[in-house]
């Protein structure tokens, strides 16, 4: 029996004048490539208000006008004409477990992920078990006035809130990929935490039903009213199987006076994916914004979570871990923009490179004129696992004020033979010894993760090691 959304879809498919529907698989997607027509189709399918359609079309112009950035990772192989920019979620339901590659299944097996969750992660079927969890969670949240829905729903049900904040932190013309996301976004989360409300359990995108959790172009907006607190957790450590080769998300966060927001991501896209993400938060008086960001998967990642410190007392923090294995380039870091005096920030970055993998730290600390008594500290440590692997550091500092305290430390180390020998002499295999050293190296960050994520991250690194050593 078809569910309500499916019926809805079928109806849409029949009525839609361009008829982009595959009657056999109920797949609903725009044609490859991107132009005005495609963007209009997306907006039409979603039944969006005019302002959102205009927003998308304007963003498309910015996207087409802007050149491909060349300052970071190599993006020259990206072919924008060979990408589907919108695929209706039913495509997930159409995909069968048999189509998921064997190595992904094996990894799930070894990570000990429950059957239902595996299918969800692989994009197969819906996550029925989580609905139960989600329902009780949602009731609790509703009592507190917290809104936690997918972005498409938010545009329909909370248009005023969305319109007020959407695109204000990351404007559509911010960069080429923010423009792309603004033109074709789909899915992502909308979180609203009312004044004084503390959300005690971490909100996980995973619990949301009927949503495109792992969308190609997801768009997340989080608003924390004064004195509120929320911890949002995105992604998971299991590899996310994706047939699409480009993922470009935008996350915007507003943390108002005295509020605190923590946003945790563990990204483990499959290794064919370009992951180009813009994440930015604005923190107001005495507010705290913390990004905990782990990048393991993908072919290329470019991601620099940012905090704009708008008023005195605001505090920003980025904890970043990147693991670049064979063929991967993780270009990650953080940005702290001190607009107001008496603001403070910290960036701690740990990167690991293995084989032909390359991990780059790229970060910016900017202190605007007038932002005196700013304190900022940047620590970036790189660990190389072998002779071949590579790391680079690009720390940018733009300091326009003199009464500031800015610290920067960077270290590059290799896994010492003596450490490996010592651990092996106690009965650990070379792979076990290697993963123990790596897990120790990133421990300052893993201890900040929810326990189950920390455990999975450690196991995942162990799997990476087993693949490479011996």
């Amino acid at each position: 029996m078809a569910t309500q959304p499916e019926l809805e879809l079928q109806r849409l498919g029949t009525e839609y004048k361009y008829g982009f529907r595959d009657p056999e698989q109920y797949v609903f997607k725009t044609r490859k490539g991107l132009d005005r027509e495609v963007v209009e189709q997306i907006s039409w399918i979603k039944g969006e208000p005019d302002w959102m359609r205009e927003f998308r079309l304007k963003a498309l112009e910015y996207f087409l006008r802007r050149p491909l950035p060349t300052w970071g990772a190599d993006l020259s192989e990206l072919n924008f004409d060979d990408i589907y920019y919108y695929i209706k979620p039913t495509e997930k339901q159409g995909r069968s477990w048999d189509e998921v590659p064997e190595y992904i299944k094996q990894t799930f097996e070894r990570l000990g992920i429950p059957e239902a969750e595996r299918k969800f992660l692989a994009g197969v079927g819906a996550q029925y078990e989580s609905e139960v969890v989600y329902h009780s969670l949602r009731e609790d949240l509703e009592r507190q006035g917290v809104i936690f829905v997918d972005m498409d729903t938010a545009v329909r049900e909370y248009p005023d809130l969305v319109k007020q904040y959407f695109g204000t932190i990351v404007p559509p013309n911010d960069n080429k990929f923010a423009a792309l996301n603004s033109a074709v976004w789909s899915g992502g989360s909308f979180v609203y935490v009312p004044e004084g409300v503390r959300v005690e359990i971490p909100l996980q995108a995973y619990f949301r039903i009927n949503a495109e959790n792992m969308g190609q172009f997801e768009r997340t907006l989080i608003i924390v009213e004064p004195g509120g607190y929320v911890h949002y957790v995105e992604g998971c450590t299991a590899p996310i199987y994706s047939t699409a080769s480009l993922h470009s998300a935008v996350v915007e966060i507003i943390v108002k006076e005295g509020a605190r927001c923590r946003y945790t991501t563990i990204q483990n896209w499959s290794k064919n994916v370009y992951n180009l993400v813009t994440k930015r938060a604005a923190a107001y008086r005495d507010a705290t914004m913390e990004w905990v960001d782990g990048n393991l998967g993908s072919k290329v990642t470019m991601k620099y979570p940012a905090v704009w410190l708008m008023e005195p007392g605001a505090r920003g923090e980025v904890l970043s871990v990147a693991f670049a294995s064979d063929g991967q380039h993780q270009d990650a870091g953080g940005k702290m923009v001190h607009v107001a005096p008496y603001t403070s920030s910290q960036i701690i970055s740990k990167s690991i490179s293995k084989g032909t993998g390359r991990a780059s730290y790229r970060g910016l600390v900017k202190v605007h004129r007038g932002a005196h008594h700013v304190r900022s500290n940047v620590v970036c440590d790189a660990l190389l696992l072998d002779e071949q692997s590579r790391t680079d550091t690009y720390p940018y500092m733009e300091i326009e004020e003199e009464q500031v305290s800015i610290g920067h430390e960077a270290t590059v180390s290799k896994v010492a033979e003596e450490q490996l020998f010592y651990l092996q002499s106690r009965g650990l295999s070379e792979a076990e010894a290697m993963s123990m050293i790596v897990n120790g190296f990133i421990e300052p960050i893993t201890k900040e993760l929810p326990l189950e994520y920390a455990v999975e991250l450690n196991r995942l690194i162990q799997l990476e090691m087993e693949g490479s050593v011996g």
Partner: protein, 262 residues
């Protein structure tokens, strides 16, 4: 061959070194179960090289000879394979591993060794491990907070040596090498460590104690004492040899050895 007939540990004509430079130049040694051997010698005589070669350090090369453990040549084995057979080296300079707690490291080490030696089902549960660890910490008069500290990071010289003996206590080796375990210990710490080692020793195992001075041997009584010079064992005897060395120094042996060699 009966187990009694096979020595636990034998070195035959061992020539080994590093980067093409020969340090051990034809070394022979036999150690039986229930025996404690002391290996003494001046700095640079090759004592620590021997310890590393036995444990399987990848930087050392073996040019000739064999090392037999329970009758099996271990030279082709990786360090962890050797550990899983029951070999243990207490390091002179233990390496720090930041971010890895003693407890996490030791539980993995103890269980991988236990599984290899006693069977897959002999791994300790987290609870059993904690109990065992607490017991051994108490034996070595170490604070329980050791368990949550990062492996050897920020440890004082004495703490490092105690931590090595703690590892030995948990890994229950059949053949243990203690490389200069006495260096860096004050007299009280030395006594505690020696008491611990004595308590761990039993007739089914054997130990090789490498030391520069006789001091340690006042607390751990060796059955045999060997003196090493220039990569060879030049004199062997009972405990009285250590006392003689303490009184006369190594120069006496050096000149005697030089005469014999010429």
């Amino acid at each position: 061959m009966t187990p009694e007939a096979t020595p636990l540990f034998t070195i035959e004509n061992l020539h080994a070194g590093i980067e093409g430079k020969e340090i051990l130049r034809g070394l022979d040694l036999t150690i039986n179960r229930g025996e404690i051997h002391a290996l003494m010698g001046p700095n640079g005589s090759g004592k620590s090289t021997l310890a590393y070669v036995i444990a399987g350090h990848p930087n050392y090369e073996v040019y000739e000879g064999r090392i037999l453990y329970k009758g099996e040549n271990i030279l082709e084995m990786t360090p962890d394979e050797r550990a899983k057979l029951g070999l243990f080296l207490a390091f002179q300079y233990p390496t720090a591993i930041p971010g890895v707690t003693m407890a996490n490291f030791l539980r993995l080490a103890v269980n991988s060794v236990r599984k290899a030696r006693y069977g897959e089902d002999k791994a300790l549960s987290p609870r059993e491990f904690r109990r065992l660890m607490r017991e051994k910490l108490a034996m070595l008069r170490m604070d329980e907070s050791f368990a949550t500290r990062y492996l050897n990071e920020g440890f004082s010289g004495g703490e490092k040596k105690r931590a090595e003996i703690l590892q030995m206590a948990l890994l229950e080796p059949e053949f243990a090498i203690l490389d200069e375990t006495d260096s860096g210990l004050d007299i009280d710490a030395l006594r505690t460590v020696a008491d611990g080692v004595n308590a761990l020793f039993n007739p089914s195992m054997a130990m090789l104690i490498i030391t520069h001075y006789q001091r340690m041997l006042n607390y751990i009584k060796p059955h045999f004492v060997h003196v090493m010079l220039d990569g060879m064992i030049v004199a062997s005897g009972g405990p009285e040899l250590a006392e003689e060395l303490e009184a006369k120094g190594y120069d006496w042996l050096k000149s005697e050895f030089a005469e014999a060699a010429s």
